[in-house]
Amino acid sequence: MRSDKNRLRRSRLYIPGNKPSLMYNAWLYKADCLILDLEDAVAPSEKDAARILVKYAIKNLDWGNSELIVRVNPLYTDFGREDIRVIAPMAPNVILIPKCESARDVSAVEELVTDYARRQGVYEEIYLMPLIETAKGVLNAYEIASASPNICAITFGAEDFTKDMGISRTREGKETFIARSIVAMAAKAARVQALDTVFSDINDIEGLVESAKEAKLLGFDGKGLIHPSQIEPVHKVFTPTEEEIEYAGKVVAAYEAAKSEGKGVVALGSKMIDKPVVDRAIHTIECAKQLGLIKEEEE
């Protein structure tokens, strides 16, 4: 299945690239995105095996409606270039670029992806998703987010970020608050999606929900996950509620009406509606449509 740059990415479930038994059933849990991981989940001695497994899994397994992302190794390692050589021609929907620190890191990967794909006659769209997980990366977030039109989202990685900062990670995540805010802001400024870090305690569903709510508040569009049981709670947070959809519908209708009447000012009841509110409403309606929460005739 080909993807869409603006599709929903509420949940991204990581699957270790050397665990085929987890791949067969991965699509059944209906995560928005599945990440086949060649990087941190795979020990150096297993990198070869994982690369080959992922190569064939992309083509041969059923992935349902989930977007398929492959996390390759960074180019400064022994594995990064080979990962891209093998994986790009398989045309996964997205390549996740780990430890991304600059626009240069993005373009280096992009050139290789395009080059290796074209050599095999593959011209399908492959989006890029830089993973920002160092202090330098955070400070260059906007530069990274706007480095290529093929970037669909930027994402934040708290585990490596805290390591880089020499601080420890907490359940509440105060220590990453500013970094996450910057990443979310940079994404919005560059008009790409912002995706929050992984929540790694699979037993703490309550903590996961709180973390997802906070992420949504900061402007993130989704969270990273390590277990299928985390999907449903996160989807609930990032799925527009009935009230939100209803309100968004009214806003859009008011906007359309104002436009057709040639009015510059949009009003809903006695309230004036600003352009960003309209944009957000359009986004909400778009989400709801993707999720089948509104039928075409109700538009």
């Binding site: 059933n25 059944l28 849990y29 049981s229």
Partner: protein
């Protein structure tokens, strides 16, 4: 050997070892007439002494001889010490050629294999889980074993098909007069449901306990009127193998998905309303469904009637919250459930006859809305195998499976579509344990198949968001992943018979080639 084809297309010998076999005719097609068997008349006299000095004394007093049939219950499961202890004693006494009729055997009973080899045990009529089953599969038993469901076993005892000469009944507490229960003492296990028919119909009953309490030992699960002798031993078993401290819900995402689908299916089936009843067990998927159903019922204020178990703390929790009115209990799996069983009168002990006997005036399985059951294989005719693996090995007992399947308004098989590269949904099962006509729905992670016989259900579920599809489609999907395994390599010799709950024969199990 002369064979006849039964109603599920399996070939059943006309006769085996002098036993005439009636082939399975359909779940409710065969009606046996006549009267039930009866135990010999006993005399109760003032001053009677039942307490024996040793197990050997009790066995001598009971008059156990070569070729007789002895029985056991499996409430102590894989913690049981009684079967091995009794067989060792019998072997020392030089008695041979016995038929062993346990309600079930577990891996802890692997010493039975030695007693088969040394001639003490000649036949087994009962469920075999694990090593004994494997030994029998390779042709280790000199005769043909018979496997029965819980309801089928009690039916066979009551109608005389399975005559027990001496019943050995482990009790966690007993008094010297033979009043027994499983809720006091150091090796508690809950109800004594599996042993009730044994006690009532055996020629002689020997109670074995490690906790002798003063008369009267209350509550009474099996009363002294059915007990001939009482023996006190150091230990009847290992408590850690009897009950798990805490039963746990599955963590497998695949299994949780199956449970979620099953709960949603039940809800959409229209059965989930006030008065709802279901059967649960201790399996991971089953526990998850129990929990999910409980959550729906609590949220929507649905008041259930009863849970029939296999009781676990999850069922007990729903009971104590008032989400279900009562618990019917044939066996318990954890300590919380034993406490509830002992302390609450609406947590009621259910004999196997009351639970599932087709030769009764009304059994519990017929009152159940839903039963969710496991399987090793299911085929496109909805026939279910719970006994053998696809390599032909007889590794599991039947449990109450065919009883619940036949009785419940909605019988669901809840299983992953494949396990370790072995397809579970197949063209034809290795062994038929429960006939497809009694199975309504198969729920897997890849889709849900409704039996075409249930066109009412198919109609009702139209428009559901659940992945409902024909079972053939499910089978094809699984075969695309796993391929078709080669058929098992079997010899001609029949090593076991699968008896249906009504006493007819639904399938045979053949010896596996090494």
């Amino acid at each position: 050997m002369e064979y006849r084809k039964n109603a599920v297309g399996r070939l059943i010998p006309k006769e085996i070892e002098g036993r005439k076999l009636v082939p399975f005719k359909g779940a409710f097609a065969y009606r046996k007439r006549g009267h039930k068997a009866s135990p010999p008349i006993s005399y109760s006299e003032p001053g009677e002494k039942k307490l024996c000095k040793s197990l050997k004394d009790a066995i001598l007093a009971a008059g156990l001889k070569d070729g007789m049939t002895i029985s056991f219950h499996h409430h102590l499961r894989n913690g049981d010490g009684v079967v091995n202890m009794v067989l060792d004693t019998i072997a020392d006494m030089g008695i041979k050629g016995l038929t062993l009729a346990p309600s079930a055997l577990f891996p802890v009973h692997s010493p039975v294999i030695e007693h088969i080899k040394n001639g003490v045990v000649r036949n087994i009529q009962g469920s075999m889980n694990g090593p004994v089953g494997e030994f029998v599969s390779y042709g280790g038993l000199p005769t043909t074993a018979i496997l029965r469901s819980h309801g089928g076993r009690v039916r066979a005892i009551e109608d005389g098909t399975l005559h027990i000469d001496v019943a050995f009944i482990a009790a966690s507490s007993a008094d010297e007069h033979g009043n027994l229960n499983g809720v006091y003492g150091k090796s508690q296990f809950g109800p004594l449901a599996y042993a009730m028919a044994d006690a009532m119909y055996a020629d002689k009953s020997i109670a074995i306990t490690d906790t002798l309490l003063p008369y009267p030992n209350l509550p009474i699960s099996i009363p002294a009127i059915y007990v001939d002798y009482v023996v006190v031993v150091d230990s009847i078993g290992d408590p850690s193998g009897i009950v798990s401290g805490t039963t746990r819900i599955t963590r497998s995402p695949t299994r949780l998905l199956i449970a979620k689908y099953a709960a949603q299916f039940i809800r959409e089936s229209g059965l989930l309303k006030d008065g709802f009843s279901f059967q649960t067990g201790a399996g991971g998927i089953s526990l998850a469904i129990t929990k999910f159903l409980g959550e729906i019922m609590e949220k929507e204020g649905i008041k259930g009637s009863f849970i029939n178990g296999g009781v676990t703390r999850f069922a007990v929790e729903l009971f104590h919250k008032g989400i279900v009115h009562s618990l019917f209990d044939g066996q318990v799996f954890d300590t919380e459930s034993i406490d509830s069983f002992r302390d609450d009168t609406r947590h009621s002990e259910t004999s196997m006859s009351q639970y599932a006997n087709i030769h009764s005036k009304g059994c519990l399985v017929n009152r159940q809305d839903v039963g969710f059951l496991g399987a090793t294989e299911v085929d496109t005719n909805f026939n279910v195998n719970v006994n053998t693996h696809s390599d032909g090995m007889l590794l599991h007992g039947i449990g109450g499976h065919p009883d619940v399947a036949a009785g419940a308004k909605l019988s669901m098989i809840v299983i992953p579509s494949f396990r370790n590269r072995i397809p579970v949904i197949r063209e034809s099962v290795t062994t038929v344990t429960a006939p497809g006509e009694t199975i309504d729905v198969v729920v897997t992670e890849r889709g849900i198949a409704i039996n075409p016989r249930r066109d009412d259900l198919i109609e009702r579920m139209k428009g559901s968001s659940l992945p409902i599809k024909p079972i053939e489609e499910l089978k094809d999907e699984v075969e695309n992943i796993c391929g078709k395994p080669a058929p098992p390599r079997l010899k001609d010799r029949i090593i076991a018979l699968i008896e249906y709950r009504d006493g007819t024969y639904i399938d045979v199990v053949r010896e596996v080639e090494r």
